[in-house]
Amino acid sequence: MTQTAPTKQPNWFSRLAHPGVYLNWSAYLVVPLIIATIITFGIGLWFAFFNSPADYQMGETVRIMYIHVPNAWLSQMVYAVMAVSAIGSLVWRHPLADVSMKAAAPLGAAFTAIALFTGALWGRPTWGTFWEWDGRMTSTLILFLMYVGLVALWSTFNDQSKGARTIAVFTLVGAINIPIIKFSVDWWNTLHQPSIISTEGLSMPASIATPLLIMMLAFTLLFFTLHMVAMRSEILRRRANNLERRHIAQKMDVTS
């Protein structure tokens, strides 16, 4: 058992993860993260537009991939972040895990929306249609619906700390289901149409991999920056709520 007894000094992780302490140390990271994000985006976009050739199969539309692939990657990574936070919330009942879960949900929804939107705009010139019930697109769409459901779920709770554990349960049920959904959709897809169109097996020379990887790094940095700022404001929001509540309680104490 790794559970720390209350008398023992908490380990370094739980000390860093205490909301108040988190506010202190994360304050030093926000500005460097913003700068790193901007620089990486600058380099990535320069590569994407000025220093990369057109793909011999996709042509110039390969440039859409530099946005589409990072966001498709984020759509899954953000859910992984939420699932890990959900475990933290359920097992250790850690308030920072609740905050992390809540801050990640709208970000994941937005990145998934970008992935879908750019996917559609890439599909029109490449496949001749905005939407194709392709395995990946369909499971991304389902993932988007799950994000929207989670955002809606967060908004229905008045007492956020109580809602967190319920939402953590649902987040984990979703995390277990995502691979199954992916499998079932892929299976369904091969059943209904012999895969004429596939993004697999496309060769990727270094001239395309470089901007792609830089853009993936840039979007990942963007997520972590926004996530950190959103977590900080959620902690502040809870603090303000508590102060208001205490203030009202004190007032009622005085008058009575």
Binding site: M146, G149, T156, K162, R165, T166, G174, I176, N177, W187
Partner: protein
């Protein structure tokens, strides 16, 4: 009689005494079978072709509709709070409630399927296949819906949110259920879809009681 069967019998008795909800659900299920031909047109071949999809969508929507109040009533009258202090574990309670709910809602729906089969001009092999697929798939529907219902307990408002949350998770049931139906009835029958459907049902019935127990415990706190 132990606590597990007591809960099941209690729920069934309650459902028989109050009656209404099962009949409402059946009416809803059959209504979809009436509305679809009106929307699509009385083309025999087309309806027969679409029949498995229509029946599955009807089953999915009816189950989600019926699950709305699975735990809410127990939460409101305090039964849930009493049950948390009973000497039977919370996941076992959840499983008992799911089994009871399957008997009250899913089984009547499956029994009413012949009506839909007639209205949608289903042929005999398809009918047998869909009954089999519904029997194997409905436990997963109830189990997943139970998770949604347990989450809905903690919500003060927002009745529609549970179906919205559960719908994406039910996609594998729909996919495997419909392809099991068509592959069993069609030429070159394969059991793959039916096996996946059963596996998914087993998995959900095994995991859902724990998720439901977790959610209900937070609600009772």
């Amino acid at each position: 009689m132990n606590g597990f069967t007591t809960i099941i019998m209690q729920d069934i008795k309650l459902a028989i005494r109050t009656g209404g909800s099962t009949i409402t659900l059946l009416t809803f299920y059959i209504s979809i079978g009436v509305i679809m031909p009106i929307a699509i047109g009385p083309d025999k071949q087309l309806l027969a072709f679409l029949a498995p999809a229509i029946v599955w969508i009807a089953a999915l929507l009816s189950t989600l509709l019926g699950l709305e109040r699975l735990f809410v009533a127990d939460h409101e009258d305090g039964t849930l709070l009493v049950l948390t202090h009973a000497d039977i574990s919370m996941p076992a309670i959840a499983l008992a409630k799911l089994i009871a709910h399957w008997l009250i809602t899913a089984l009547p729906l499956i029994l009413a399927t012949p009506v839909l089969a007639v209205m949608l001009f289903m042929d005999w092999p398809t009918f047998v296949a869909i009954i089999l697929a519904l029997l194997l798939g409905s436990p997963a529907l109830i189990a997943l819906g139970g998770v949604g219902a347990a989450i809905a307990v903690t919500l003060k408002r927002g009745g529609v949110i549970a179906p919205i949350l559960i719908m994406p998770l039910a996609v594998p049931i729909l996919i495997f259920g419909i392809s099991a139906t068509s592959s069993l009835a069609g030429p070159g029958a394969s059991n793959a879809a039916l096996l996946f459907l059963s596996a998914f049902s087993l998995l959900s019935v095994a995991f859902a009681p724990f998720a439901i127990a977790l959610a209900l415990r937070t609600a009772a706190e």
